[in-house]
């Protein structure tokens, strides 16, 4: 298309952009660009009136290309593409300039930020001229789902999907279902039994003929794309198998922090120092005893072992504070004469019912002491005359004094950590991890269970520490996302992929081996390569490598990128 009419829309984003970037100046300089027939700034382009403004201009002024300078395209590109489609032009006739995340939020000088926003907008204007209409692609949606992990999250997801009539393959690494919760006694803050919760889940999974449970098994291969994955599963015993699924839910959970790393407490050498998980086992066995086999008179609970520390993990593991309060309740109920000391850094009682639970812990006379972050209470031996096994010296911030607490049993509230195999799992399903090893969601607020790989979802603690209700909510959220796709039957996939211009292909086959998805086939009769578009994921590696420039990467063509380079400079 020669000299298409371009409309430029500069979003103020409330004041997120306009407080630093002079949006009117960006509008003015856009009007000087060839092809730009209208340019406007508006409070919120993504709002309904904002979108209506664009739609009206397209329809009334015959705009053929649209540039939106606003937030990251990762945020609202789909929104604006829909607006273009609604106005009756191809949704790919849009280009966004990121002047919020990569401009107004990261700079301080209004002039420099305005210059940068102007340059980025100009780059988008130059680029959009070369945009081509792309047609939507649809693929069939396989209704089966692979759920990796048989904890409460995986079990819940499997139930949701299967009870809606869809097959589920539930793969669990260990020999039993239930995950970490299977090792827990009661749950905070309502003190209902974890065993009952998990047993109900397991029974419903076991009773559902649509759910295939594979224990002691490992996912070894994830091939394909949304709606059409082929999964390789290797059981420890038996033949490897391949299954076809449309979606994958990763619910691999966490591992408890290894308390031997926190050397100050003598865990592993002192039999009276145990972890919260070991204490859960005691509670489930109905017997709280010291290493000497006696019921303890003094029980000390230490918070944040491995969490909120400069030495280990900086994040909060979220569930330990309420679990610690729960231990106070359980100790007092089993051993009414015992003293419970609760040593915390900060008490995080943020969830529903948790503040009440905190109050009730005070009512049963749990003794709270607050210690300084990044310090550890000091373990001291008891003398022969003392009626305790040892002392813990705490610099109590509440009274400002150093206190020696008599102790028979120390419970270390170990935090959560990403599992050792999280890197392997991330690689397998093609998702990313953060610096702590937790899987990264598509958007932290608006898209918490999707990932950057379409059709792959994350739920529960593999994303970051969570309590049971949050994990269950995520499992259901991921299932709902998948059920929506299954209900449609056929799903839209991105129209962006690479294609070989047959007349330019010399048949050198350089591209054949480069494609990580084996999407490029060589026709031995014609001596030319061609790309199977359904397999292509649009990375563009072949486009760059082709010595004849015969491969075109749709929506990321050389012309488009060259024009953008000219524009930003």
């Amino acid at each position: 298309m020669e000299n298409p009419k371009i409309g430029v829309y500069v979003c103020n984003c409330g004041t997120n952009i306009s407080k630093l970037v002079d949006c009117d100046q960006v509008v003015q300089s856009s009007l000087d660009q060839p092809g730009v027939t209208c340019a406007k700034s508006y409070k919120y382009m993504c709002s309904n009136p904002g979108q209506e403004l664009i739609i009206k201009d397209i329809q009334e002024n015959g705009l053929e290309r649209v540039v939106i300078s606003a937030c990251s395209p990762r945020m609202h590109e789909p929104t604006f593409r829909k607006a273009l489609a609604k106005a009756g032009i191809n949704p790919y006739f849009l280009e966004m300039a990121n002047i919020r995340e990569q401009c107004s939020w990261v700079h301080v000088d209004p002039r420099a930020a305005t210059d940068k926003a102007t340059d980025l907008t100009r780059g988008a204007i130059r680029r959009v001229v070369h945009h081509e209409p792309l047609e939507k692609r649809f693929v069939d949606m396989c209704p089966a789902t692979l759920v990796i992990g048989g904890g409460v999250t995986g079990l819940t997801a499997a139930i949701e999907l299967a009870e809606s009539g869809n097959p589920v393959f539930l793969v669990e690494r260990t020999g039993r279902l239930g995950g970490n919760i299977a090792n827990v006694d009661l749950t905070a803050p309502y003190l209902d039994s974890a065993r009952d919760l998990i047993r109900e889940r397991i029974t419903r999974v076991r009773d559902n003929p649509l759910i295939t449970v594979l224990l002691e098994a490992k996912v070894t291969e994830v091939d394909g794309y949304v709606g059409n994955f082929t999964i390789g599963i290797a059981p420890d015993h038996g033949e490897p198998l391949k299954v076809e699924v449309g979606s994958v839910i990763v619910a691999t959970g966490y591992k408890p922090f290894d308390a031997t790393r926190a050397k100050a407490f003598g865990y592993g050498t002192n039999p009276n120092v145990i972890t919260s998980f070991e204490f859960e086992r005691m509670l489930r066995n109905g017997k709280i005893v010291t290493g000497q086999g006696k019921p303890p008179k003094y029980v000390t609970i230490v918070h944040c072992v491995g969490s909120r520390s400069e030495e280990f993990n900086q994040y909060c593991s979220r569930v330990c504070c309420m679990t610690a309060l729960k231990y106070g309740q359980e100790v007092k109920s089993a051993l009414p004469g015992a003293y419970v000391y609760d040593l915390y850094i900060d008490m995080h009682a943020f969830g529903k019912g948790c503040e009440d639970f905190y109050k009730s812990a005070s009512a049963i006379r749990t003794i709270f002491l607050m210690f300084q972050k990044n310090t550890a209470p000091q373990l001291l031996p008891a003398g022969p005359k003392d009626d305790c096994e040892m002392f813990l010296r705490v610099d109590d911030k509440l009274c400002g004094e150093e206190i020696d607490i008599p102790t028979d049993l120390i419970i270390l509230m170990v935090g959560m950590e990403a599992r050792d195999d999280s890197a392997e799992v991330a690689r397998l399903v093609n998702i990313s991890r953060d610096r702590d090893g937790w899987f990264i969601e598509s958007h932290p607020k608006l898209d918490p269970v999707a990932t950057t790989t379409d059709g792959v979802y994350i739920a529960g603690c593999c994303q970051s520490p969570k309590d049971i209700n949050e994990s269950v909510a995520q499992a259901r959220a991921a299932s709902a996302r998948i059920l929506a796709k299954i209900a449609k039957g056929r799903i839209e996939v991105d129209a962006v992929f690479a294609e070989v211009h047959q007349e330019d292909c010399s048949g050198c086959r350089v591209c054949n081996e480069l494609c990580p998805y084996s999407a490029i086939e060589f026709d031995f009769d014609l001596k030319r390569s061609h790309i199977i578009s359904a397999k292509c994921k649009a990375c563009g590696a072949c486009v760059t490598a082709c010595p004849s420039s015969a491969i075109k990467g749709r929506h990321f063509t050389d012309e488009q990128i060259f024009a953008q380079i000219e524009g930003v400079l």
Binding site: S72, A112, D434, A538
Partner: protein
């Protein structure tokens, strides 16, 4: 060279580095405003001609960013970028362009702070090198002919 504000073009892969740059934004981490970002799906798409084009168009420096090795959204695209990079550097030497003007860095989706540091460091480096003479030199050559 006081007052010289270099123009730097950045080619960022969509999945790691562009997302990391967005994270710097959502985290409100401040860094120098000299970079102009162009998004590609993968660092493997970053054609050496894009870099040369940017320098010819007047960029004083070019930043190439991709996922860390072993963490590419497209399995191994960043290795392709990594292999092209030394060849590109050599080509720049042959053209008489200081090869420090072009920098390859790995920035993951969670490394907003690292992205900001990379941009600040490169900006400083280019500021010290001064303006790139490729464009003006080219104009001179043309005039002499």
């Amino acid at each position: 060279m006081s007052g010289f504000e270099p123009k730097i073009v950045g080619f960022l892969c969509n999945w790691c580095s562009y997302t990391g740059a967005d994270l710097a934004g959502t985290s409100r981490i401040k860094y120098s405003s000299n970079l102009r970002v162009i998004r590609t799906m993968c660092s493997a798409r970053i054609d050496p001609t894009f870099v040369l084009k940017a320098l010819l168009e007047g960029a004083d420096g070019v930043l190439i960013c991709g996922c860390h090795p072993g963490d590419c959204h497209y399995v191994e695209g960043n290795y392709k970028a990594m292999r092209r990079y030394p060849l590109l550097k050599k080509l720049l030497d042959d053209f008489g362009i200081e090869n420090e003007r072009v920098q390859l860095e790995w920035v993951s989706a969670s490394e907003g702070r690292r992205f900001a540091e990379v941009v600040d460091k490169l900006t400083e480096q280019i500021r010290e090198l001064g303006p790139c003479r490729v464009r003006s030199g080219l104009a001179l050559d043309m005039a002499e002919r």
